[in-house]
Subunit: 207 residues, 2 copies
């Protein structure tokens, strides 16, 4: 599974790197998450300069895409040329958006009138873009998921692993990154959050 972590200037380090780090736990199974950016280097909201690993066009080739968050997302969301270079395909790709990434997902036409998650700061802009925002850390519809709050990126990663490799692998990845002494509680909560979007509901007909 080759994953593009879409990372733009002004990016929030937590929103790009927590999910990327957790997804890379599956290196042994051939998974790799790559910092994917429009320019050779991107500078975070706190002045950290990071070298991209893949150009923006990698997003359309990747098996999965996570749209990170940052302080310049409203400018990016208004840049039609940039958005046209992203060209995602939810019929073939797993796609996730973190915090203000949900605004980009909406502009890309991938949210529609389905409820989505975002952070409290971005919420008014996402609502303005016509999206119904819910008070939850994660929501997924088929191959598209949204997460709200920096540390919800663990759930976005867990959802992607559960969808692409299985719940057991998601459990192991969260167990590894969870705080010592709280591992069981972290795993249980993460599985509770992602399970409804991975397995058919109890009593419902199998998909």
């Amino acid at each position: 599974m080759q994953i593009a972590i879409l990372t733009f200037d002004g990016f929030n380090e937590l929103d790009s790197f927590i999910a990327a780090g957790i997804l890379n736990r599956l290196k042994g199974k051939g998974w790799a998450a790559h910092v994917t950016s429009p320019t050779e280097q991107v500078i975070s909201m706190n002045g950290v300069t990071v070298q991209r690993q893949r150009p923006l066009e990698f997003a359309r080739e990747a098996d999965a895409v996570l749209i990170g968050s940052g302080v310049r997302t409203r400018e990016i969301a208004a840049d039609a040329d940039l958005l046209a270079r992203i060209a995602l395909d939810p019929s073939r790709q797993l796609i996730g958006a973190q915090c203000s990434g949900t605004l980009l997902l909406a502009r890309l036409g991938l949210v529609g009138d389905l409820p989505a998650c975002t952070d409290l700061t971005t919420r008014p802009w996402v609502v303005e873009a016509g999206v119904e925002v819910i008070d939850a850390p994660l929501m997924a519809h088929g191959n598209v998921a949204t997460a709200g709050g920096c540390l919800a990126s663990q759930y976005l990663a867990a959802w992607m692993i559960a969808r692409g490799a299985g719940l057991r692998e998601a459990e192991e990845a969260i167990h590894y990154v969870a705080p010592v002494g709280e591992k069981a509680a972290y795993v249980e909560r993460a599985l509770d959050v992602v399970r409804p979007f991975v397995e058919p509901a109890a009593g419902a007909p199998a998909a």
Copy 2:
């Protein structure tokens, strides 16, 4: 408060960036966390190249220092010349170590025979270095704290904020980064974890 985030080649992105991102929430109060490295660039355990913001020698000038974690910590811990450049002073600085950073802290002589935290992978090496490792996400003794498990870096940041700015500020920073819909639970747990190392115990004489 100027904070050095000690970041070496092979670093774990979560362990450096979660704490740095949370500490930078206090930018308005003049706090700044800087990626501090021996070389101009460092490459993470997953191949992400990051430009350092401060040279290693900044560690001795900083008001606070966090020692990040990574896959090459055992090599670094064996490099006496490199360790000599770090020169920390716990009488003047707040010092935290994340996961395998605890091994460096031990080699720097800053753990002594006090119990400390680290991750499950590093644990045997830290024990070998003579440290008593406990099954908890955070432990602090005066100005020195250790954390175990990548996502425990939120507690290390919360401890540093609580010590340097107050519990109220730590609460606000954790509230901001916590998952939407779980903010109250995250704040409550983080405060429960750091409070014993910030306030005098109930019934105990004030320090």
